[in-house]
């Protein structure tokens, strides 16, 4: 079966949760024996370290100007690329016709704005899969409300909701991240829904990286540090600010929190560094974006992985990733959406108020360093490669094995 997966970001290098999920789903298709192509529709300016893949659409000046004016609507504007840019519409149509996929899988709802007119015009009608990552409009609501006028925020949120409801209804099957979101998709009229929870991989590393990060972050044997990794997604930082901060003076002289990932680029304007920034920086170390090798080292070296997550939709790959290590995990119960039963796994500490969270962080960092080897059974639940092909196969089981056909029109 020939599969075309479309998303609003490149897959390499995969840094944020969306990239990691799509990369895992693409790999799951391959493991099912499908010929998979990934078409990225994205702004290269926002992914400077990603080469533009051969199968890609990039926006022209008109779309870039819209993004510059309302950056929080980047996904929406990218999704409308074919509807607004004739050249890109022609290019997308050409890709669809040349590839002639049996199955089209749309990651997140945004590209539906460009595809809903094009797909019916194809000679061969592919099976349509909506790969939902969140109840998108609910998650974006908070971002739009913060960054846009009330009227504009409401309109934008309504636009996203219309897209995801329409796509859910038109798709032959919808993939959801959690059972709760599957229920939402069903309530919108989804024909079929399959839950494919977020899994993770534990990035490999090597002794040189371990040694280098050990020397950098543990200059004295008694230095202890908690680890927070996140993309430059403001709600993630808001969680860290709420549960770790806003002041970091509660951390003892030998205790630190280490931030990694795109979130570090948001710190300059964060309340975490607002008052007495020198004192805050004495407790917060920001290492910036790191490659997989470094991430693997940091996840293995930290004294506790912190998941101060209090907003968002879907589930968090970071939670799954944390549980694949043998390090203590300090998290909100919200961070375990989709992994609720794993809150009782060894070395997992749940704290749902900022006071409890900070207190527990101090306690874990003050206690002797402890590791919590987790079971192979737990790993099987969390590793993408262990469960994603099976779940995806179940999702597509309604298709005849030879020539899948779509019911949408």
């Amino acid at each position: 079966m020939k599969v075309l997966v479309l998303g609003t970001f490149p897959l390499e290098p995969a840094r944020h949760g969306g990239q990691l999920r799509v990369r895992a789903l693409v790999e799951a298709h391959r493991q099912l024996g499908h010929e998979v192509h990934y078409l990225a529709v994205f702004c290269p300016q926002f992914y400077l370290d990603s080469p533009v893949p051969p199968l890609a659409l990039t926006p022209g000046e008109a779309t870039l100007a819209r993004i510059a004016q309302e950056p929080c609507l980047e996904d929406v504007f990218i999704g409308e690329i074919a509807a607004r840019e004739p050249a890109q519409r022609a290019k997308l149509l050409r890709h669809l016709e040349e590839l002639s996929p049996d199955l089209v899988q749309i990651e997140q709802p945004y590209l539906w704005a460009s595809l809903r007119d094009l797909l019916p015009s194809l000679k061969k009608k592919p099976t349509l899969v909506y790969s939902s990552h969140n109840v998108e409009h609910a998650m974006k609501g908070a971002v739009y409300t913060r960054d846009l006028s009330p009227e504009r925020a409401q309109a934008a949120q309504g636009q996203v909701e219309e897209l995801e409801r329409d796509l859910t209804q038109k798709a032959d099957v919808a993939l959801a991240v959690t059972e709760a979101e599957a229920e939402t998709l069903r309530s919108w009229g989804a024909a079929r829904v399959q839950v494919v929870i977020n899994g993770a991989t534990l990035p490999s590393t090597n002794e040189a990286a371990l040694q280098s990060w050990r020397e950098c972050l543990r200059p004295t044997p008694d230095r202890r540090w908690g680890f927070f990794v996140s993309s430059a997604h403001r709600p993630n930082l808001a969680g860290a600010e709420k549960f770790l901060g806003p002041k970091l003076g509660y951390l003892a002289p030998n205790q630190r929190v280490v931030f990694a990932g795109g979130v570090c680029s948001l710190l300059a304007s964060s309340p975490l560094l607002a008052a007495l920034p020198g004192a805050a920086r004495a407790r917060l170390t920001a290492v910036g974006a790191v490659d997989d090798e470094a991430l693997g080292a940091l996840l293995r070296l930290t004294d506790v992985i912190v998941l101060p997550i209090s907003a968002g939709a879907g589930s968090n790959l970071k939670t799954a990733q944390a549980l694949l290590t043998d390090r203590p995990v300090l998290a909100t119960s919200f961070a375990f959406r989709g992994f609720e039963e794993l809150q009782t796994a060894p070395g997992v500490f749940i704290a749902d108020t900022p006071e409890e969270f900070r207190k527990k962080l101090g306690e874990v960092l003050a206690a002797p360093s402890t590791t919590y080897p987790r079971s192979a059974e737990l790993h099987a639940k969390l590793l993408w490669e262990k469960f994603a092909p099976q779940k995806l196969g179940e999702a597509l089981s309604f298709l005849p094995s030879s020539t899948p056909a779509s019911s949408y029109h």
Binding site: R223, K247, A279
Partner: protein, 436 residues
């Protein structure tokens, strides 16, 4: 019975005669070390441990002689504790002089007391190899500029956790926390980090003024930290004893001059003095005395110095002396009309106290800790209003009766504090809060 370990790292590092914070460390520790249960130690930042010292190493170092004063130079300067200014040897406390004399007499007989420690000092990085292991019940007294020791807070915290001793920390001020813009790039932030650790590791804080104590409490609140108990110990202001006053070898010193003693840095507010003198000169060049500013060159002062040197309207009416010995300072205090101190902020404000201790009328900025020192004996102005400073200076120049009346009042009412008093108050604070 626990031991009082006095951290004298500043003295180990100090390359010249002791002034500023090293003088505080030297004088207080000299007195406290007369107690057999008190011992000196230094912090080895490379190893993150403390090392015990022989008391003699600290009490009787071979202090280099003061270089000859150099007008406008910086070889021998006063003030500027954070800038490692040099200053003539002091060894002037009577008790210390006595011990010193005895030591000099006996040094031939106890050559090892001189040679062995001296050799240890001679290795510039050279440090004793013993590692100090604190006992439960011990107290570590940090009197100096511990912010200059990399990893100090973390190391003390680690050692406290393992060895169970207690820490008393002298906080000279938190000015770089509150006013990072008075200092060079990065210093304020580094100081904030140090302040956070100081609050964490300390069981008792000692400050030199109510103002500094309030600043410490404010910073603790801002950091959401419990503030340890604070004791306020007034620093000594007894005039330095010199064998003979000496007029600075600077031909431009006028007959009538007003003295300002303080590191030449933006925080000391030389700009206000410049503006006030400009106003006075506009009113009457003939009646305006010279302003002699005595102090080492410090943070962010270059522009001011250039302006004063190049401004034709000043014409020698403001003179900066960057290198002044104790003997010369004594002469300057004796011969000045009065003193000014326009500082934007102080933790203590020693020049105000020194002026009063020498019976000299002082016009000072009325902020931070200065009113604690001067009370009703000084006159105060806003550190932002040159007109106010100019007005007070003009009155002090013109109305000699007023000035003399103030001087009489000062002589009657001002009580100097000796280093012995100061050390005794530290001892009392330690005994009260951290009994051993």
């Amino acid at each position: 019975m626990g031991t009082l370990w006095i951290d004298v790292t500043d003295l180990k590092r100090w390359k010249g005669p002791r002034t500023g914070i090293p003088r505080v460390v030297s004088q207080i520790s000299t007195h406290l070390l007369t107690d057999a249960r008190a011992k000196p130690c230094i912090f080895d930042e490379t190893a993150g441990v403390f090392r015990p010292l022989e008391a003699a190493e600290i009490l009787f170092p071979d202090v280099p002689a003061a270089p000859a004063p150099a007008p406008g130079g910086s070889a021998v300067v006063r003030g500027g504790g954070r800038l490692k200014a040099l200053f003539p040897a002091e060894l002037r406390d009577p008790l210390r002089d006595l011990i010193f004399a005895a030591y000099r007499t006996l040094r031939g007989l106890f050559a090892f007391l001189k040679a062995f420690p001296h050799k240890m000092f001679a290795k510039s990085a050279g440090r004793p190899t013993d590692t100090l292991s604190f006992q439960k019940g011990d107290v570590l007294l940090a009197l100096g500029s511990t912010w200059g020791s990399r990893g100090y807070g973390e190391a003390v915290w680690r050692l406290k956790q393992a060895q169970g001793f207690r820490v008393a920390h002298f906080i000279h001020d938190l000015i770089p926390v509150r006013f990072p813009h008075f200092f060079g790039p990065g210093f304020g932030e580094a100081f904030q980090a140090w302040a956070l650790d100081a609050l964490w590791i300390s069981d008792l804080l000692i400050t030199n003024s109510e103002r500094s104590a309030a600043d410490v409490r404010d910073v603790a609140t801002e950091l959401d930290l419990r503030c340890p108990p604070i004791e306020i110990v007034r620093l000594a202001d007894e005039p330095t004893k010199v064998e003979a006053s000496q007029r600075p070898k600077h031909p431009e010193i006028a007959k009538d001059f007003v003295l300002c003693v303080g590191t030449l840095e933006v925080r000391k507010n030389p700009e206000l003095a410049y503006q006030a003198w400009k106003l006075l000169l506009e009113l009457s060049e003939a009646e305006t005395p010279q302003l002699v500013w005595v102090g080492s060159e410090g943070w962010l002062s270059h522009d001011w110095r250039y302006k004063v040197q190049q401004d034709p309207a000043i014409r020698g009416k403001i003179l900066w002396l960057g290198g002044v010995s104790d003997e010369e300072l004594d002469w300057l205090y004796s011969h000045c009309l009065f003193t000014i101190y326009p500082s934007l902020y102080e933790g203590w404000g020693l020049p105000v106290a020194e002026s009063l201790a020498r019976g000299k009328y002082v016009v000072t900025a009325g902020n931070s800790s200065m009113p604690e020192i001067g009370g009703a004996l000084a006159d105060y102005h806003s550190p932002w209003k040159a007109e106010e400073l100019a007005s007070l200076v003009a009155r002090a120049i013109v109305d000699t009766d007023y000035r003399q009346a103030k001087e009489a009042e000062i002589r009657d009412a001002y009580r100097t504090t000796s280093w012995a008093d100061c050390a005794e108050r530290v001892r009392t604070a330690l005994d009260g809060h951290l009994p051993r």
